[in-house]
C-alpha cells in the first residue's frame, strides 16, 4: 500500500471517483494545466481532458455560481476556490443559493457538488492566505462542511462528499497538506460524513479539534500524559452537521472538556460545541469547559504569525486547568 501525504490522497480520491463517475467536473483557477497551486489536481487534466478539468477565468462567484447550474444540469461539479481568503466573493452564491436550493424547492432540486478549498494559517503565506472562517460556513443551513486531518481520512471523506446528494464544502488544512505520509489504500473505501473520530483515548479530559489543530491537540495530550493526565482527543472531521454524540459521550466519561480551533474566538465553533455539551451533558461536567482558539484579530503576517496559532503549550495549559479545577 502506498504511503501518501494529504495532497496525494486527495488527488487519488478525485482520480478514482472521476473514473467511476463521469458526471464529475473539476473547475477553478489553475486547476488544469498547473494542477492547482498546491497540486491537488495534478495530472488530472491530462487524464480526463480539459472538459472535465477546467481552468476558468479568475472569478470566484462565477466558479461557484456556474457550478450550481452544472449541478442542476446533471453534473457533479467540484469547484475549487484557491484560498479561503478568496471565498467571500463566492459567499453570495453559497449563502443565497447553494445552501437553499433543496429546501426552497421542497426537494425538487438537489445540488450534488463539492466546493474544495485550502484553508488555515501556519505556512507563512502572504496577506489573505491564512484565513479559517469555517464558522461562517457551519452557520449556514443546508450546507455540509468537512475538514480532514489525515491523508487516509482525506480520501475517505472526499469520496463520501463526492457521493453525497447535497452540497459539501470541503476544507483542506493546507498547513498539513504534506506534513505526514500514511498508508492510503487504492480503491473503494469511504468515511461517512458527520462522524467524529477518537484519535487518542483517555478518561481525564476530552479535547475536541479539527484540521491542523488535531495534531497540536495530540501533542498536548502527549505533553500532559507524564503528569498522569489521560486526555481523549476527538477529531470532529465534519463540523456541520456535527457528530455531537461522540463528543457528549466522551464528556459523560471524562467530565471535562477543551475545544481547540485556530479560527477567531468570538462566534467560533467552540462556542457552539460548548453550548451543545451544556445542553446535553451539563450534569456530567466536573469543571467549566475551556477553549483554546485564535485571537479575535486578523491573522498576522508572517513575522508575528506564530504568536497567533494555538499550539501544544497553550492547549496543555487549558487541559491542566480543567483537570485541576
Amino acid at each position: 500500500m502506498a504511503k501518501l501525504n494529504m495532497v496525494e490522497a486527495l488527488n487519488l480520491a478525485l482520480k478514482e471517483e472521476m473514473s467511476r463517475d463521469e458526471r464529475i467536473i473539476l473547475l477553478g483557477e489553475d486547476v488544469g494545466r498547473l494542477g492547482g497551486v498546491f497540486r491537488v489536481t495534478d495530472g488530472l487534466q491530462a487524464l480526463f481532458g480539459p472538459n472535465r478539468v477546467v481552468d476558468t477565468p479568475l472569478a470566484e462567484a462565477a466558479i461557484v455560481g456556474t457550478a450550481l447550474g452544472l449541478a442542476l444540469g446533471g453534473f457533479k461539479p467540484v469547484p475549487e476556490i484557491q484560498f479561503m481568503g478568496f471565498l467571500p466573493a463566492a459567499l453570495d452564491q453559497i449563502i443565497c443559493h447553494v445552501s437553499r436550493y433543496r429546501n426552497r424547492s421542497r426537494g425538487r432540486y438537489t445540488l450534488p457538488m463539492v466546493i474544495r478549498l485550502p484553508y488555515g494559517a501556519g505556512i507563512h503565506a502572504p496577506e489573505h492566505h491564512s484565513e479559517s472562517t469555517e464558522a461562517i460556513l457551519a452557520h449556514l443551513p443546508g450546507l455540509k462542511v468537512v475538514i480532514p486531518s489525515t491523508p487516509y481520512d482525506a480520501k475517505g471523506l472526499l469520496v463520501s462528499a463526492l457521493r453525497d446528494p447535497d452540497p459539501v464544502v470541503f476544507l483542506e488544512p493546507k498547513r498539513i497538506y504534506r506534513a505526514v505520509r500514511e498508508e492510503v489504500p487504492e480503491g473503494d473505501y469511504t468515511i461517512p460524513l458527520s462522524t467524529a473520530k477518537i484519535v487518542r483515548a483517555g478518561d481525564a479530559v476530552t479535547v475536541v479539534a479539527w484540521g491542523s489543530m488535531v495534531r497540536e491537540a495530540v501533542r498536548a495530550a502527549e505533553l500532559v500524559a507524564p503528569e498522569g493526565i489521560a486526555a481523549e482527543v476527538i477529531d470532529l472531521r465534519t463540523i456541520a452537521p456535527m457528530d455531537d454524540e461522540t463528543i457528549v459521550a466522551s464528556i459523560r466519561k471524562t467530565g471535562r472538556g477543551v475545544i481547540v480551533h485556530e479560527a477567531c474566538r468570538t462566534g467560533g465553533l467552540a462556542a457552539e460545541i460548548m453550548a451543545r455539551i451544556q445542553e446535553k451533558a451539563f450534569l456530567s461536567l466536573a469543571a467549566p469547559l475551556e477553549r483554546v482558539t485564535g485571537f479575535d484579530t486578523i491573522v498576522p503576517l508572517l513575522k508575528l504569525e506564530d504568536y497567533y496559532l494555538p499550539d501544544p503549550h497553550r492547549i496543555s495549559r487549558a487541559i491542566r486547568k480543567v483537570v485541576r479545577f
Partner: protein, 368 residues
C-alpha cells in the same frame, strides 16, 4: 495624442519606441518627455529591476516571504505613474512596486510588507498610494470611490488604478468600470496585461480580442498600448489622465506586456509555458530599447551604466537591512490596531498572550 484614434475594435495600439530603439511615431511622443527626462525614467526602471532582483535574492535566502516579481513590467509601472501630479492617487494591486516607489513609497516599506510585516503598509502621511491589494480586482472599486471623492470635493486630481488581465474577469472590475462610467469619476483604469493569471493565459480570461474594448460597453474610451514601450505607456497614460482630470470621465488602458518571471516565488512557470515562448519574448523587454535609444543620443556611456547598476545594487541591500531592522516583533501589534480603543475582550486576549509568553513550554501558572 488623440485617444479616439486608437479604437480598440480597430486593433490599433499606441507604440512609439520599437524594440531596436527607434522612434517610430515621433508625433505621439509627448512634448514634455525630453531625452533627459527619458534618461530619468530609464534610471527609475533600472532601480526597479535591481530592487526586484534583490527581493528574489532575499526570498531565496529565507529573508522574505512569497514575493510577486515585476520583471518585464518596468515600462508599464514607471511610464504610467510618471504622468501623475501632486495630489493624485495610486491604487495598486501587487505587481506595482515601480509605480509605488515613483510615487513616494520607500523601498524599505515595500520590503517590509513582503517580509511579512503590516508596518510595510504604513505609508508616510503625504504619500497618496493605497496599500498592496492581494484579493484580485477588489481594489478597482476602491479606486473609483477615491476618484469619486475627489470629484465631490472639486479637486482636480486623478486616481490611477492598477490591476492585471486576470482581474478583468472579476465582477468587481466590471462593477468598478460601470460606476466610473455612470458617475464620471476622474480615474484611469490601468491594466497590466502580462498575458498570464498564474498559469491561465489571457486567451482563457475573455473571448474578446482585446481587454481595452471592455471600456466601450461602459461608455468610455479604452486604449491599447505596447506596455513594454515606456514612451507609449507615458503618452497614453498622460492623455488618459488629462481626459479624466478635465472632467471627461474615466479611461481604460490595456498595457500589453509580458511577465518574464514566475507569478510569485512560489510558482513554477515551466509547468505551463515553454522555454521557447519565454525566449521569444526576451527581445521585447522594456529596458534594452531605451538603453539603445539613449546610447544613440550619447546620453548613456558604458561607464555610467555600470556605475548606475552598482550604485543601486548597494542601495537595495542597504534598504533590505533597514527593512529587517525596522520590523518590530511586538506581539501587542496583533491586537492594537483593530479599533481606535481596545475592547475589553481583546485586552483580555492580549493579556493571555503575555502570560503564555512569560510561561515556559512545560510550566503552568494555573491559568489557561
Amino acid at each position: 495624442m488623440n485617444l479616439a484614434e486608437y479604437d480598440p475594435l480597430r486593433g490599433r495600439r499606441v507604440e512609439v519606441l520599437d524594440f531596436t530603439g527607434n522612434i517610430i511615431a515621433p508625433d505621439v511622443r509627448p512634448d514634455d518627455l525630453s531625452d533627459d527626462y527619458l534618461l530619468d525614467l530609464y534610471d527609475r526602471m533600472v532601480f526597479l529591476r535591481v530592487a526586484d532582483q534583490q527581493a528574489l535574492t532575499l526570498q531565496r535566502a529565507g529573508r522574505m516571504g512569497t514575493y510577486a516579481p515585476t520583471l518585464g513590467q518596468e515600462a508599464a509601472n514607471i511610464g504610467s505613474a510618471a504622468v501623475l501630479q501632486e495630489g493624485d492617487w495610486v491604487v495598486p494591486s501587487f505587481r506595482e512596486m515601480g509605480a509605488m516607489l515613483l510615487r513616494g513609497v520607500p523601498l524599505q516599506l515595500i520590503y517590509m510588507y513582503w517580509m511579512g510585516s503590516e508596518w510595510g503598509s504604513h505609508f508616510p502621511e503625504n504619500v497618496r498610494v493605497l496599500p498592496i491589494c492581494a484579493p484580485v480586482g477588489t481594489q478597482t472599486l476602491h479606486g473609483v470611490g477615491l476618484a469619486w471623492a475627489a470629484k465631490l470635493k472639486g479637486e482636480q486630481t486623478v486616481t490611477l488604478i492598477y490591476f492585471g488581465d486576470g482581474a478583468t474577469s472579476k465582477g468587481d472590475f466590471h462593477e468598478a468600470m460601470n460606476f466610473a462610467g455612470v458617475f464620471q469619476t476622474p480615474c484611469v483604469f490601468f491594466c497590466q496585461n502580462n498575458q498570464y493569471s498564474i498559469s491561465v493565459p489571457r486567451s482563457t480570461q475573455t473571448a474578446a480580442p482585446t481587454l481595452a474594448q471592455k471600456a466601450i460597453a461602459y461608455g468610455f474610451p479604452g486604449v491599447m498600448v505596447d506596455g513594454n514601450d515606456i514612451l507609449a505607456v507615458y503618452a497614453a497614460t498622460k492623455e488618459a489622465a488629462a481626459h479624466a482630470r478635465s472632467g471627461r470621465g474615466p479611461v481604460l488602458i490595456e498595457a500589453q506586456t509580458y511577465r518574464l518571471g514566475p507569478h510569485t516565488t512560489a510558482d513554477d512557470p515551466s509547468r505551463y509555458r515553454s522555454a521557447e515562448e519565454l525566449k521569444a519574448q526576451e527581445p521585447y523587454e522594456p529596458l534594452p530599447r531605451v538603453r539603445l535609444y539613449l546610447e544613440k543620443k550619447g546620453l548613456l556611456t558604458p561607464a555610467a551604466e555600470t556605475e548606475r547598476w552598482e550604485r543601486y545594487q548597494t542601495l537595495v541591500k542597504e534598504e533590505a537591512k533597514k527593512a529587517e531592522a525596522a520590523i518590530p516583533l511586538r506581539p501587542d501589534d496583533i491586537f492594537d490596531y483593530h479599533y481606535a480603543t481596545l475592547p475589553p475582550y481583546l485586552a483580555h486576549q492580549k493579556d493571555y498572550l503575555h502570560r503564555i509568553l512569560a510561561s515556559s513550554g512545560e510550566g503552568t501558572d494555573g491559568q489557561a
